[in-house]
């Protein structure tokens, strides 16, 4: 029993990523924690592009971005492009990246998300006239730091499910 070659598991992982994206911190949590919320959807996408590059492609990544646009109240298409860019670079070098250690992969994710956050910050400055605090770039750091854990977890689960 493995409908769609484990495709359901890919979908579920993205749903979980979206839920984590909007998860409210407890009221007692210090305010700076809000800046450290990892970019869950990007992390999960990075994992799947590395693991099954033939299943998660540019168009899928771009469409997932629309969900993020609405959740984050960004202009439509912004997150789609950020995720598509991440997918393209990851896919281009996925054979090499797979050979690398988990920490090296994390640093690649860091750079990709840094580029993404700079794009988002610039867009918010242009469109809404919002500030672009340096703290906004911490997303890349927290995501890269949590990457090893997520990567190992998803790797174990996808082996059990048998995603092909």
């Amino acid at each position: 029993m493995n409908p769609f070659d484990g495709g359901w598991f890919i979908v579920v992982s993205f749903i979980v990523a979206f839920v984590l994206t909007v998860f409210q911190l407890p009221a007692a949590a210090p305010e700076f924690l809000a800046w450290l919320r990892p970019s869950w959807v990007a992390i999960v996408l990075f994992f799947w592009v590395l693991a099954v590059p033939h299943r998660v492609g540019l168009i899928v990544a771009w469409l997932i971005g629309f969900g993020l646009d609405v959740l984050l109240d960004n202009p439509l298409g912004l997150n789609g492009f950020i995720l598509a860019l991440l997918t393209y670079v990851t896919w281009r070098f996925h054979e090499r990246l797979r050979m690398w250690t988990i920490l090296q992969q994390g640093s690649v994710l860091f750079v990709l998300l840094l580029v993404g956050e700079v794009l988002r910050g610039t867009m918010l400055v242009i469109v809404d006239g919002r500030d672009f605090p340096v703290a906004a770039l911490l997303v890349a750091l927290s995501s890269a730091l949590i990457w090893p854990a997520i990567s190992m977890l998803l790797d174990r689960l996808q082996r059990q499910v048998g995603v092909r």
Binding site: T21, L76, G80
Partner: protein, 316 residues
């Protein structure tokens, strides 16, 4: 997928095309309202995420309720009863005061104040970007929520609805940098605009001339100019007034009245349409007469003029 999109040369072109489409979409979305229905549909699709993310808190609430001791329940119950008694006493006065106010307004010939109704709603999510002060409520278009609706909490103005989905709606908080609300000083009716600063516990007043009569601890309430917010909800109190020598405007910082980062329940306010007055004719005549009388008085004292002016907010 691979055969179509991931040929060595094709992917680069595809990325370029997606970037171009994204740029066009983002520009259209930022400059026009054309994509609002699209956003609404995607938002409806995404709204279950908020409810799932909210379940741990609801579960812990439930568990807390199940295991709450009798004593603590008794204690909260007593406290609530006391508060209810106090509030009931205040609302008794409110009824007589509002009817008195209505009579006085009729004498002045100004429009009747609109009655309001409220819808209680729970905050189920926040926009996970600290730059953007927005929350998501558990009531949407299905419950009659509409874009532009004012949102208050127990202590003051909270924000306004900026997007509705079927079962959720998004509220822009007064503290967001993109938010501004017309206000007036409760003490003397001086008007201004309170805008958000991107910090939860700070609002600023825009373009306040240094000669304006505004002091620390003054309460600012919504003035209903602009027609979006009902009149008279507290927005904030003045925390500091700084006048730099030579500057044209004073820097006025407000403490928001609402508990912007702590509230869980908020009220959606809706102004009911004015009730049709079946005996409008004679009453109107009376009001006109009263108006004339006041105008006559106003010519020598100037008092009526001032009160007319402070009522300007409710004039159509």
């Amino acid at each position: 997928m691979k055969a179509i999109f991931f040929r060595e040369s094709g992917a680069g072109y595809l990325l370029f095309a997606l970037g171009l489409v994204s740029l066009i979409l983002a520009s259209v979305d930022a400059l026009t309202n054309l994509l609002v229905p699209v956003r609404q549909n995607i938002g409806t699709l995404m709204s279950p995420a908020y409810f799932i993310a909210e379940t741990p808190y609801q579960l812990s609430d439930q568990i807390g309720r199940v295991f709450a001791s009798r004593d603590s329940l008794q204690k909260t119950n007593d406290e609530l009863e006391q508060r209810l008694a106090v509030l009931a006493q205040v609302s008794q006065q409110v009824r007589s005061l509002s009817s008195e106010n209505e009579r006085l307004r009729a004498l002045l010939g100004s429009q009747e104040r609109l009655a309001t109704e409220v819808l209680i709603s729970e905050i189920v999510g926040v926009v996970p970007d600290p730059r953007i002060h927005q929350v998501v409520l558990d009531k949407g278009a299905d419950a009659g929520v509409f874009v532009g609706q004012a949102v208050i909490d127990a202590t003051g103005l909270f924000g306004q609805v900026i997007a509705v989905e079927n079962t959720t709606s998004r509220v822009l908080l007064v503290s967001d940098v993109a938010h501004a609300v017309p206000v007036e000083v409760n003490r003397n009716g001086v008007r201004s605009i309170a805008s958000g600063t991107g910090v939860f516990d700070e609002l600023t007043l825009e373009s306040v001339p240094v000669s304006t009569d505004i002091r620390e601890n003054d309460l600012l309430v919504t003035s209903a100019l602009g027609g979006r917010f009902p009149r008279g909800y507290p927005v904030g109190s003045v925390r500091s007034v700084v006048i730099e020598p030579g500057a044209a405007f004073a820097q006025v910082v407000l403490q928001p009245a609402a508990a912007l980062d702590r509230t869980r329940y908020v009220l959606l306010v809706r102004e009911l349409p004015p009730q049709v007055n079946l005996v409008a004719g004679p009453l109107d005549d009376e009001a006109a007469k009263a108006d004339d009388a006041i105008d006559a008085q106003a010519t020598d004292s100037g008092d009526g003029q001032a009160s007319e002016q402070s009522d300007a907010g409710s004039q159509p």
